[in-house]
């Protein structure tokens, strides 16, 4: 069961007028992971999500959720999906509780007990009978999560969930999503243009740019990956002499000065030799560390330095 992808896209294309918004997307989302859609604004993240949940028609190709075609078997396909598309806009003139009743009525088999359960899950017990118009953004976000979880979905889709949340709220959401995937085996799809967020949240990311899929990778591979040679940061004084000492050294790539020290590109094995040479030249060393390439760097590399955010 866990082998079969929960969502699969095949050749999905969407044109609005003459512009191609989504261009031949094909990939699978494995079960039980937090899967991120990453890309600059206008890359097609939201459009892809809207097509998945039936808010937008699928131009060409097909999307299947749990094996059901979203286009032709919409009601069965969406049955197992909980979603928040952009901000969770609820009926402001209803109480939080009546909002939940409203959405519970639309899916068979949700008991009053389940509603109470979800309310306590998102910790809204004290304010659930207040009108949503009086809620803070964080509370609305939590109510949004509650409505998405009412029917115990196996797939949770969140479009830009951290928009407008303060750091504490983001952290809360992140921990919460982790909990859901670990404890209940829910698959989560999140989209964001905030790389640092995705780095902390996701197991795997799909990178979109200009409506095309750039790559799908495990987050670990993504950051660690790269050539065998790495960049190291060496704090050594005096830096002029250190630079001179290393510039002509064999097996050492580019050396240049950075604000914190020297940036040296070399294979890991060369480190002891580098240190030795510096010591011999009477250069004092305060620290040597590997510089990990961040998701952001990799991302910029892959999308051709496109502006983020």
């Amino acid at each position: 069961m866990s082998q079969e992808p929960i969502v699969s896209l095949r050749g999905v294309t969407k044109k609005i007028g003459r512009a191609t918004i989504i261009d031949n997307l094909s990939f699978d989302v494995p079960q039980g992971e937090i899967f991120g859609f990453l890309g600059p604004n206008g890359a097609g993240k939201t459009t892809t999500i809207r097509m998945m949940v039936g808010l937008m028609s699928i131009g060409e190709g097909e999307i299947r959720i749990k094996g059901k075609n979203v286009k032709s078997e919409f009601e069965q396909a969406i049955r197992h999906v909980g979603a928040i598309v952009e901000n969770p806009e609820m009926y402001k003139f209803l109480s939080g509780y009546h909002n939940l009743i409203h959405f519970a009525r639309m899916i068979p088999g949700i008991s009053k007990q389940r509603i109470d359960e979800v309310v306590s899950l998102v910790k809204l017990e004290n304010r659930i009978h207040d009108k949503v118009g009086k809620y803070s953004l964080g509370m609305r976000q939590r109510l949004g999560v509650a409505q998405a979880l009412l029917h115990k979905p196996s797939l949770l889709i969140l479009d830009e969930p951290t928009n407008g949340l303060d750091p504490a709220g983001i952290r809360e959401l992140r921990d919460y999503l982790r909990q859901l995937t670990r404890r209940e085996g829910i698959t989560v799809i999140v989209s964001s243009h905030l790389l640092s967020e995705m780095e902390l949240m996701c197991d795997r990311v799909a990178i979109l740019n200009k409506g095309k899929l750039v790559d799908v990778k495990l987050i670990g591979d993504f950051i660690g990956a790269g050539d065998a040679s790495q960049t190291f940061l060496i704090e050594a004084l005096p830096s002029e002499r250190a630079l001179a000492a290393l510039s002509d050294m064999e097996g050492v790539g580019a050396v240049h000065r950075a604000p914190e020290g020297l940036e040296v590109t070399a294979e890991r094995d060369r480190i002891p030799e580098i240190v030795e040479r510096l010591v011999r030249n009477d250069i004092r060393i305060y620290g040597v560390r590997a510089r990990q390439q961040s998701l952001e760097d990799r991302f910029l590399e892959m999308t051709g330095g496109e502006q983020i955010g």
């Binding site: 039936g54 808010l55 919409f74 901000n87 806009e89 003139f93 409203h102 009525r105 639309m106």
Partner: protein, 314 residues
């Protein structure tokens, strides 16, 4: 489907707006009835109704003999005299000075029902788009057709509720004002052939409610279509209310053209056929019903096509 209608009703009746409309409706009936009752009792003519009718008939007879009286008026006068004679012979008093005067007067307030229902219908779909709630509504296992239908049905139920309120309140308040006298009074009119017709007042009242209700349904359906097509509450409500008030006026200007009989507003007032005065010569009740049915189908088809195919992008 039942759940979807429950949802729509919940969204409707848990808003202040809805209850303000209901309040205004009740207020309008109360005010209209009390004002009419006040002047009715204050300026009641002297003598029994038999004496008044006899006097009226005497004047009519004088008018008939007057060579200046126009032909059209003569027919009217003759009809009135027939009715008056019938009343005197069968001892059936006219409605004026009874509770029925006020109740039949309140039936005019059906136009308020149209107004309120159009407001609700215009906002029903467009409002979900404006607030963004449409996104959470459409990602459920319910087809868009069902959602559309549930909204439409809840609109019609709201209109019906207002109609029942109108009926109950106007009968209650006028009944109390006139101590429920003459409740079983019969309506006496002459039909197109000049024959006397005697009808039950309640039946007559509901007949006029339902005939006016037809125009309510047409306007609401139109508002609903605009709401679905343009996603703008203001436009749907504004345009429909404009049509409600200006529609009949516009048809006056185009009456001389043959094709104008196919215009919605030329057919929307079915009660014209009761008094035998269609918009154009030769139009029949069946013709108007057919035209209205065609508009009804087109409006609903447009709502359905637009709403079920639309991409929801913010």
């Amino acid at each position: 489907m039942v759940n979807l209608i429950l949802n729509e009703n919940m969204k409707l009746y848990r808003r202040w707006r809805t209850w303000i409309m209901v309040g205004l409706m009740i207020g309008a009936v109360l005010l209209g009835s009390i004002v009419e009752w006040y002047y009715d009792t204050k300026e009641a003519p002297e003598g029994t109704w038999q004496e008044q009718l006899t006097e009226e008939n005497r004047q009519y007879a004088a008018n008939l003999n007057d060579p200046d009286t126009e032909e059209e008026n003569k027919t009217y006068i003759q009809r009135q005299m027939t009715v008056n004679d019938y009343r005197l012979a069968h001892d059936i008093r006219p409605e004026s000075g009874t509770m029925w005067d006020g109740i039949n007067g309140s039936a005019e307030l059906v136009v308020l029902i149209t107004l309120f229902t159009v407001i609700v219908a215009g906002d029903s779909l467009a409002g979900e788009f404006t607030s963004g709630t449409i996104k959470l509504l459409l990602i459920r296992p319910a087809s868009r057709l069902k959602i559309l239908l549930s909204k439409y049905i809840s609109m019609l139920m709201f209109g019906l509720l207002l109609l029942v309120i109108l009926f109950v309140v106007s009968v209650m308040v006028n009944g109390l004002l006139y101590q429920f006298q003459h409740m079983g009074l019969q309506l006496v009119t002459v039909d197109g052939q000049g024959q006397i017709v005697e009808r039950n007042m309640f039946a007559n009242l509901w007949q006029s409610y339902l005939l006016n209700g037809v125009s309510t349904i047409m306007f609401v359906t139109m508002a609903f279509m605009i709401s679905a097509a343009f996603r703008s509450s203001a436009m749907a409500i504004g345009f429909s209310i404009f049509a409600l008030f200006a529609g009949t006026l516009l048809t006056e200007f185009i009456r001389r053209y043959e094709w104008s009989k196919y215009v919605l507003f030329a057919n929307i007032d079915l009660s014209a056929y009761l008094v035998g005065r269609p918009y154009q010569e030769g139009m029949t009740l069946a013709f108007s019903i057919a035209v209205l049915a065609a508009y009804f189908i087109v409006f609903n088809l447009v709502s359905w096509l637009v709403f079920t195919r639309r991409d929801v992008a913010s």
